[in-house]
Symmetry: C2
Subunit: 337 residues, 2 copies
DNA sequence: TGGTCGGCTGGAAGCGCTCCCAGTTTCTGC
DNA sequence: GCAGAAACTGGGAGCGCTTCCAGCCGACCA
């Protein structure tokens, strides 16, 4: 009902006409290409301003065969997995570098098989110029898909069974070793671990780091329970551990989430932390600061992970061949050891 | 070095040729349009399979003038704001309905002015068919942009100063009232509040709910400090409150994040929770379960918020005129009251 | 003064798909 | 067995932009 006409966006032709030049010339000035005289260049700019012209991204994409967007794909079998704050922070990291470019960010939660099919579609239809692929586990079909995708792919984390050409990962193994060594140095001798999903690279690497450290210290490294990276999994794993080895005096837990569950079990069992048993977690989520007691844990640079993935993808897209990157992890000492 | 040719994707023309039909016919069967004989239809399908044809989304977008994607835009002045797990869950909700469609999800963290410009661009270039816009605060320029965007816009939460035609929001005011009433029922009489940012709709609504409840109860409702929705803000606000009104016996805190900060201050000040002072938070983040004591708080259906935003946008895009939606909030009783 | 060179310039051919339209075929009902 | 309707069919014109290319023109050198 307003007087506003539902005016279409002006096209390049209209700009050209108004500026009194050919469409080619107009296109050149829009794209800062050479071979256009100063006078025409300015005429075109003026016309652009007057008309409020904005190039149509779709048409441009069709003509240049470049989508102008990249996708961040989170693969996994649990639809709600993305709710993990971990990913949110990765996204912020990714965004921080994409912001400097003209690229748009698409998000693909390839969680159902339908989701995976769509991601595949997305790539085959060339709606995106590159992919960042996270959290492949086990025999994720996406791994192969990625391998022979026609666009650059960088992995976030390394899948099991397969070393991708381009990836950025956190030093999970090193971090786990650090954590476990910390326990050893604190004088603990009967040290267990609660693992994450062992069909994920991170889960396995943390277990290995744990075993590395105990092997070096000459301690038993077979007290292992799986908690699947979930809080309740951590709780039940802790229960089993207490059954199996009532004399344990420390446990390295492969995620803070699980540590929270374990802490609850420990409290209920009347074990004092860190008096009776020391705990160290992994990830350094914000909650880790507010557990009782505050959790000693391993921090991984999540923001940097996202940032570096994006940088690597950009490099790849511009024809470089970047090397894989492993980001350092760091022990954060609080009060649970 | 493999024998794989870097084969381009086949085009519709190739499909048509192989099937021995016209491009128009091929297009019709791809799009399940009528007016194509059974025989040709099958020939085309076969050709599609043989060739592994996938329609080029960009070309289709250009021809149909539909991008095939929607954007979820998070506006705000803090680049890291998105790291709030709140948004992650919204994304999951949004995704759950988009997954059923052919629409792709683009994410726009319109945090810097550059980010905002890009979002504006995104819309003007029609790279997206619709927008979900979240977390406008104060005089966010995006509000007006959204208002006269040429694509449907649904708001997540209501901005201040402006009631958008289409939005889904949580019942912040009602939730805050619930929380405060709970405090009153528990026999508390000297009740304060720590507010969130008052230039955001949610922050203001929660303050109003607080005041509503106390007005009804005939209690003083002027014990107010601002915590800006941040943890440290909650801490300093609590400190000020303790100064101002050492006799307070309860505080409604507009976010769990801030409540965590406040709890720390309270503990340090030697006040027992809930013995000396009762606390209720807002949001029901996962950490709320692990504070000391576990936090009584108001749960808002974040996943549903995302889901309903997406549904509303879909409705809008298909020409309907959905009504705004206010999702119920719910008191979650734990041990801090 | 003639010849060259190199930077302008605009025409035109796509990019891959949709969809209108006019022409052809095949069915109906009588 | 025939008119008229209904269903198919393929040609062609776009969607808005990029980019190749051939033609120009003025400048510059000998």
């Amino acid at each position: 009902m307003t007087t506003e006409t539902p005016r279409r966006q002006p096209t390049l032709d209209e700009v050209a006409e108004r500026a009194g030049v050919s469409r080619s010339a107009a296109s050149r000035v829009i794209n800062n290409a050479p071979h256009v005289s100063r006078a025409k260049r300015e005429a075109v700019r003026r016309a652009v301003d007057d008309l409020g012209y904005v190039p149509n991204a779709t048409a441009r994409a069709l003509a240049t065969q470049q989508a102008g967007s990249v996708v961040l794909a989170i693969s996994g079998d649990d639809p709600a997995m993305f709710a993990d704050p971990f990913f949110a922070e990765v996204v912020v990291g990714v965004n921080s570098v994409l912001e400097e470019t003209e690229l748009e960010l698409m998000l693909s939660l390839a969680t159902s098989s339908r989701g995976q099919a769509r991601l595949e579609q997305l790539l085959r239809t060339r709606q995106a110029d590159g992919v960042m692929l996270m959290s492949l586990h086990g025999d994720d079909p996406l791994a192969t898909l990625a391998a022979n995708a026609s666009v650059p792919v960088v992995f976030g984390g390394r899948p099991l069974n397969f070393e991708p050409p381009y990836y950025v990962d956190a030093d999970n193994r090193g971090g786990a070793r650090l954590a476990t060594e910390h326990l050893v140095k604190a004088g603990r001798r009967r040290i267990a671990t609660i693992t994450g999903r062992l069909d994920e690279g991170a889960g396995m690497a943390r277990l290995q780091g744990f075993q590395d450290a105990l092997a070096v210290a000459g301690l038993d490294n077979t007290l292992i329970e799986n908690g699947e990276f979930r809080e309740d999994g951590g709780a039940t794993a802790m229960t089993r551990l207490l059954d199996e080895a009532p004399d344990l005096d420390a446990v390295f837990i492969a995620s803070d989430q699980m540590a929270i569950g374990a802490l609850r079990v420990l409290a209920r069992a009347g074990r004092d932390v860190p008096g009776d048993v020391s705990i160290v977690g992994f990830n350094d989520i914000t909650s880790a600061r507010h557990t009782d007691p505050p959790l000693t844990t391993v921090n991984q640079p999540i923001h940097a992970l996202g940032r570096e993935m994006a940088r690597m993808l950009l490099a790849l897209m511009s024809g470089d061949q970047p090397s894989p990157l492993i980001l350092p992890t760091q022990l954060v000492i609080r009060s649970s050891v």
